[in-house]
């Protein structure tokens, strides 16, 4: 539990792994099923606890501590590694059947027909979630439509956020330094502090609030969803920080720059989402990145104009 919590916050995430190879869970016989997973310790633990009380062969592939989905995308959870492990573990001598149960999200890395050709083992893509493996086994090893259906629930999004926050901490430092410099140059520490709070809020809105409210924010584009939440933050900040006293130049700057900051971070959450396509993200980025750059630049210009006009 503690280990999983630490990893969720990015601590020791890159060496949270178990040795690859064949594991016997409880007391498997030659007829018992073979389940394949990655050597990311969190994947391994989830599979083990899901299969508690059952006799299972668990074949763990060397994915260098990366989860099944990401490792399949990179090919480490792949045909070559699976074939190597089947051979090196002498699986064919330990079991009498010729069937491997793989997670559905491992399919982008594994060519089932190639595995069959090279090892004689047929591949069944069982379920998306390990938690549904018992139901799959009890269902005569047949996948129901629900077992094949991806979800991205509020909780599933929530657990991904800590590591995103930690990963983006560096940018907070950059924002801090820029705001500090601005205060020094303008000789107005209060304005610098306010600018920092405004940016920090936009940063949090884009990383935390955008992903959490994902299905309820308008549009399909992640950048647009992020811009909307950034705009909402502008409103909140206006009320919290006494915006009535601001000049119109400052208000224009805030409305331009803050949504751009939020949009960038929500767009980055496409990397965590299980339904965005590469072509879609490319298209978004071609439009959104220049737009964000221009918006932030105009925001800065607006502040400067307001100061010196």
């Amino acid at each position: 539990m503690l280990g999983a919590w630490k990893v969720r916050w990015g601590m020791g995430r890159m060496n949270y792994m178990v040795p690859p190879g064949l594991y016997a869970i409880n007391n498997p016989a030659t007829t018992d099923p073979v389940v394949v997973t990655a050597n990311y310790k969190m994947s391994y633990d989830i599979v083990r606890s899901a299969l508690e009380g059952r006799n299972i062969w668990l074949l763990v592939l060397e994915t260098y501590g990366i989860n099944v989905w990401c490792a399949a995308g990179k090919g480490t959870f792949g045909t070559g590694e699976l074939v190597r492990r089947v051979v090196s573990s002498r699986l064919a001598e330990l079991v009498s059947h010729r069937r491997l149960l793989l997670p559905i999200l491992g399919a982008p890395g594994v060519a089932a027909h190639e595995v069959a050709r090279q090892t004689g083992f047929s591949v069944s893509y069982a379920t998306i979630r390990a938690a549904e493996l018992p139901a799959y086994l009890d269902n005569g090893m047949l996948t129901t439509p629900a077992m094949r259906e991806l979800t991205f629930t509020f909780y599933e999004r929530l657990v991904l956020i800590p590591v995103e926050l930690v990963g983006a901490l560096k940018s907070v430092a950059v924002i801090g330094v820029v705001c500090l410099l601005l205060s020094a140059v303008s000789g107005d520490p209060v304005a610098g502090m306010l600018a920092f709070c405004a940016c920090l809020g936009a940063w949090l809105a884009g990383i935390v609030v955008g992903p959490l409210l994902l299905p309820w924010l308008p549009g399909r584009s992640f950048a647009l969803k992020g811009a909307v939440i950034g705009l909402l933050w502008c409103g909140v900040f206006y009320l919290l920080a006494g915006g009535q006293a601001w000049s119109k130049w400052v208000i224009v700057a805030i409305i331009l720059a803050l949504p751009a900051v939020s949009a960038f971070y929500t767009l980055n959450f496409t990397g965590c989402s299980p339904y965005t396509s590469r072509s879609g993200v490319k298209k978004e980025m071609r439009i959104a990145l220049p737009a964000m750059g221009v918006a932030i630049l105009l925001g800065v210009v607006s502040v400067l104009v307001g100061r010196f006009l």
Binding site: M14, I66, C70, A72, G73, I104, L105, A107, P108, G109, V110, A111, A112, H113, Y125, I128, T143, P145, R148, E149, L150, T151, F152, L214, P215, R220, S221, L267, N268, T270, G271, C272, S273, P274, Y275, T276, S277, R278, S279, G280, V281, K282, K283, E284, M285
Partner: protein, 96 residues
């Protein structure tokens, strides 16, 4: 996927129905129910649901499916572009 839809008309997924042998493997590996199967031929039922993971193309025994699969996150793509323009040599990338 219930409750989530991404951009329309961008997925690069292509299915060659003449080559398809109707084995149904693409339906088995797709986590977004993009394909359907009728009379021993697969067809693309919901192109916009495709996230271009490439599982169907890799698992098609007759190579009837093609898709531009690969890193799909913003951070990974930025790194890819930087590398193409020789602004960054290597490394970086997400979920490294």
């Amino acid at each position: 996927m219930k409750g989530f839809r991404y951009l329309k008309n961008v997925a690069t997924l292509k299915l060659d129905q003449d080559a398809c042998i109707g084995c149904g493997r693409c339906l088995e590996v797709c986590p977004h129910q993009v394909f359907s199967l009728a009379e021993k031929k697969a067809s693309i039922r919901d192109l916009d649901a495709c996230m271009e993971c490439g599982a169907c193309a890799l698992n098609c025994p007759v190579k009837a499916i093609a898709v531009d699969a690969g890193v799909g996150c913003a951070e990974g793509l930025i790194n890819e572009w930087l590398q193409e323009r020789k602004l960054r040599t290597s490394g970086g990338g997400c979920c490294s």
